[in-house]
Symmetry: C2
Subunit: 228 residues, 2 copies
C-alpha cells in the first residue's frame, strides 16, 4: 500500500519557480496493476522519483505501508530501495563499463547474495527478457530496446514487491513490448507484485486495472478497467 | 537519392563474430517519407549509422547522390554530416552541460552562422516542437520526451535535405508524438526533405509512403502505402 499525500515538487530554474508537481493525492493498493498517463512534461517521472524514495517532496509525503521512507535511517532507506522497489528508469541509467550480466547482478550482490547466485539470478531474468545471448555485451554494444530490457531485468532481479516502470516499452517493437507487458502481468497475478507504470503504450493500458491521468503537475482523473 | 548496396556490418564480441547487418540493399528516392520497422536488435540503428556516414560498412557501400561519403576528405565528410543530414539519435546524445538552446544552436554555429542567428534559428525550432518555455533547461532538467524533442530540434536546425530519425516518438505521448510526425510530414511535403524513420509507432507508419521490414540483419520485405 503506497499513499501519496499532497505531494508537491518545486524546481528552481534560476529566479523562476517551476512546480513540476502541484499537489498529488494517490492511493496504490497492494497487488495492483496501475498505469499513469499524461503528456510529455506533465510530471510522471517526477512523481515516480517521489514514490520510489529517490527524491524528497517539497511539500506533502509518501507513505509506504504507513511509513514515511525519509523518516528511516540512511541504511534502512538503502535497504528499502534495494529490496522493496524495482525501478526501471526512462533513460535506463545502466553502468556503461559493465556488461549486461554485471549490470543486472549488481543489485543482487548489494542484497548480500554471493556472486555465483547473483549471476545465476541475473542470467535467468536476462533470458526471460530475451537477452540470454547478450550477457557479455556492454550497454554501448546493445540496441536501444536491448538496453531497455537490461534496465527491466535489473529492476526485477531482487524480486521486489513494487515495480516502478517509467515508460518500459518506449523503445520496443510491438511483439517484444507485449512480452515485457506479459512478464509484468504474470509477476502481478502470480506473485502479487504491485506494478506502477508510466506509459504512452496502449498495450500496457489494456492490461492495467486502473489508469491515472496526470497533466501539468496535477491528477486529472482516474478510470478503472471496467470503464475502458 | 541514397543507395545502400550490399551493406554488411560485423562486430567482434571477444572471439565471436556478430553480423548485425548481413547484406542490405535499399534505394531511397529524393523527397521520400520512409519508415523502417523490425524487432528490437534487428539492425535498424546500425543501418542508420551506415546511411548517415557515422560508421563504415564492413562490406558493401552507401552512396549519396552516387558519391561514397567515405571517399571524401575528412573536412568534406564533416561538412556533409553537418549540412546534408539531420540525425535524431535513439538515445538523444545531448550535451549535458549545455542548455536546450545551446544544444540546438551548436550545429548552426558549426555551419558558420553567427551566434545571434544560430540562437534565433534554434529558438524558432524549439518553439515549433513545443519547448519555447524550456530554452534554459539542461537535459537533466528536462523530461524524457522533452529531451527527445531537443534531439529532434537539433537535427532540424540546419534545414538538412535528409532526416534520419531513429525512433523519434518512443518517449512521447500520442498527442505530442503526432505533432512531431506532422512537423516531419510538412518538411517532407513542403520542403522536399527526405525522411527516413526507424519506428515502432503506428502513427508514423500511417504517414509513410513506404515501409521497409528489417529482421536479423536482413531486409525482409517492403510495402508501399497503397498496400497498407
Ligand atoms: N558495438 C557492438 N558490439 C556488438 N554487438 C553490437 C554492437 N552494437 C550493436 N550490436 C548488436 O547488433 C544488433 C543490432 O543492433 P541495432 O542497434 O542496430 O538494433 P535495432 O534494430 O536498432 O534495435 P532496437 O529496436 O532495440 O533499437 C543487436 O543485436 C546488438 O546487440
Ligand atoms: N531538475 C529540473 N529542473 C527544472 N525543471 C525540471 C527538472 N526536472 C524536470 N523538470 C521539469 O518538470 C516537468 C516534469 O518533468 P517529468 O520528467 O516528471 O515529466 P514526464 O511526465 O515524465 O514527461 P515525459 O513523458 O516526457 O517523460 C517538465 O516540464 C520538466 O521540464
Ligand atoms: Mg518521464
Ligand atoms: Mg535502435
Amino acid at each position: 500500500l503506497i499513499e501519496v499525500r499532497g505531494v508537491k515538487k518545486l524546481y528552481l530554474q534560476g529566479e523562476e519557480e517551476l512546480w513540476a508537481l502541484k499537489g498529488i493525492d494517490l492511493l496504490i493498493r497492494r497487488g495492483e496493476f496501475i498505469s499513469i498517463m499524461g503528456p510529455s512534461g506533465s510530471g510522471k517521472s517526477t512523481l515516480f522519483n517521489q514514490i520510489g524514495a529517490l527524491d524528497v517532496p517539497t511539500e506533502g509525503q509518501v507513505l509506504f505501508e504507513g511509513q514515511n521512507i525519509f523518516d528511516l535511517t540512511e541504511p534502512q532507506q538503502a535497504w528499502f530501495r534495494n529490496h522493496k522497489i524495482g525501478y526501471i528508469f526512462q533513460t535506463f541509467n545502466l553502468i556503461t563499463v559493465m556488461t549486461a550480466l554485471q549490470n543486472v547482478a549488481l543489485p543482487a550482490v548489494f542484497e548480500g547474495v554471493g556472486h555465483e547466485e547473483a549471476n545465476r539470478r541475473a542470467t535467468a531474468i536476462l533470458e526471460r527478457v530475451g537477452l540470454g545471448h547478450r550477457l557479455t555485451h556492454k550497454p554501448g554494444e546493445l540496441s536501444g530496446g536491448q538496453q531497455q530490457r537490461v534496465a527491466i531485468a535489473r529492476a526485477l532481479v531482487n524480486r521486489p514487491s513494487v515495480v516502478l516502470a517509467d515508460e518500459p516499452t518506449g523503445n520496443l517493437d510491438t511483439a517484444t513490448g507485449q512480452e515485457i507487458i506479459d512478464i509484468l502481468k504474470s509477476l502481478n497475478e502470480e506473485d502479487g507484485v504491485t506494478i506502477v507504470c508510466s506509459t504512452h503504450d496502449p498495450k500496457m493500458i489494456r492490461k492495467s486495472e486502473r489508469v491515472v491521468w496526470i497533466a501539468d503537475g496535477l491528477k486529472q482523473k482516474e478510470v478503472t478497467a471496467a470503464e475502458f
